[in-house]
Amino acid sequence: MYFPEELKYSKTHEWVRFEDETTAYIGITDYAQDQLGDLVYVNLPEEGEETAAGEPFADVESVKAVSDVISPVTGTIEEVHSDLADEPQMMNQAPYEAWFIKVRDISETEELMTREEYEKFIAEEA
């Protein structure tokens, strides 16, 4: 499993890539996609909607399950990666390219982990 050094990670297994202090891309981690199995669809929010740290903003579907994706930040959704709905396999095959949303005007961020901390965290969880 691979966790890029430059990303931050949440306890609910989302990754965050900050562009600057108030702008970031969000996706799900390699660990998350592995646990969820083959993903078949994603329900994405709309551009312009607000996200709230700790609240779900999307959900991902496997054949027999659905799981919420939790936003680690509070802000405004600037862009939605709508191709994901047509190519859900991207979330399994390239989880760090398969960003879900780009958030701007981030006012609040959950406590996030570094790669090292996250690796330790999932080792403990398993």
Partner: protein, 465 residues
Amino acid sequence: MKLVFERSAEGRGTRYLPECDVPERLPAAALREKPLRLPELPETEVDRHYTCLAGQTHGVNDGFYPLGSCTMKYNPQINEKMASLPGFVNIHPLQDKESMKGCREVTEKLEQLLCEITGMDAMTLQPAAGAHGEFTGLLVIKAYHRSRNDTGRTKIIVPDSAHGTNPASAAMAGFDVVSIPSDDHGCVDLDALREAAKEDTAGLMLTNPNTVGLFDPNILEITRIVHEAGGLCYYDGANLNAIMGIARPGDMGFDVVHVNLHKTFSTPHGGGGPGSGPSGCKSFLAPFLPGKDSPQSIGNVRSFGGNFLVEVKALAYILTLGREGIPEAARNAVLNANYMRVKLADIYPMAYDTICMHEFVMSLEKLKHETGVSALDVAKAMLDYGIHPPTMYFPLIVHEALMVEPTETETRETLDEAIRIYREIHEKAVKDPEGMHRLPLHTPVRRLDEVTAARNPVIRYDFDA
């Protein structure tokens, strides 16, 4: 197997109608631009096509069907005969009342018998399925609270072991769902219920016997807690087969119920329907029922009464069994489940190892851990033996769950044979776990690629594609 469209050839077909005996007169405007395409087949081909499809469909008469929570009992043939009487089949639903007295006798009689069996005072036959009955009952609860200006009651309590329809119905009726955990015995956690039941509680939805196949011994305390908080109690009749004629939801403190005619009362499932899910209630809620001549009625949940022909079948069944046969069926459904449970418990760990009602839940967690063989693998292995697998991965609170409901209409020999097969499969799983993932081998098709089906949905045939 060919699709019906692939058997089609332009210009073929059988004529069923005479020449039109009045001048043809089509609307001048609004006509279809593209001509209609449908399969074009002579009747012989249509008949063979569907005979072929029937051959690849497993029905109750093809073999044992112990699908948990679905009550796949035998569907008596006399019921079908009665439902095909011309005096029922050819009645227009909007005929004047006087000309359909017989239909009214069927529905009134059935309503009365279902009231008797459930301990309710009033019943509507409108709902076309169990989930439809749930929705109806919850709207009745909503209308009742509103009629008292008790508008703060916005929540429905649902145990975490409930069928998915319960929370989904509650949401459709505009309620928030409060999920409460089950205790170690798979029953309602009374402390959690006491905490959840308060001034915002509209009601509790409960299946009893519950979805792990146990009768909740605290039932009277449960309904008391909810009533004391000002809520109403909803009984999901999915599992009524275990206790019909033995005990009644109305006597346990339930205010609203639905029953599934296509489970408990022997009407066939039809590959997914039609079902029928009559809703019943205590007299104080009767004015709110749909389809009743009352200003407080919630309206209608279906166009024309209920699934009438299904009701005829259920009536034939209840009249056949009568007051002795109904509890006899329940007792034997429970006996058959316990018989299988006892004979399998040594190798298939029971989720709750105690006397069960009409079904029991096994957990294959240990097997999965030790051999990698999952509940899915065991279920798929059964397909090669010609018996329908149990319900898989339900209820959600049991890991690697298989839920078995033999019903009362199976012989001891059938149960013994099924037990032998379950044991043989277990032996295979231990000896050759890898081989289990490849099963079934002998079915018309083998394991399917469900991921591709969901990622790139192909849900229709297109002549032009």
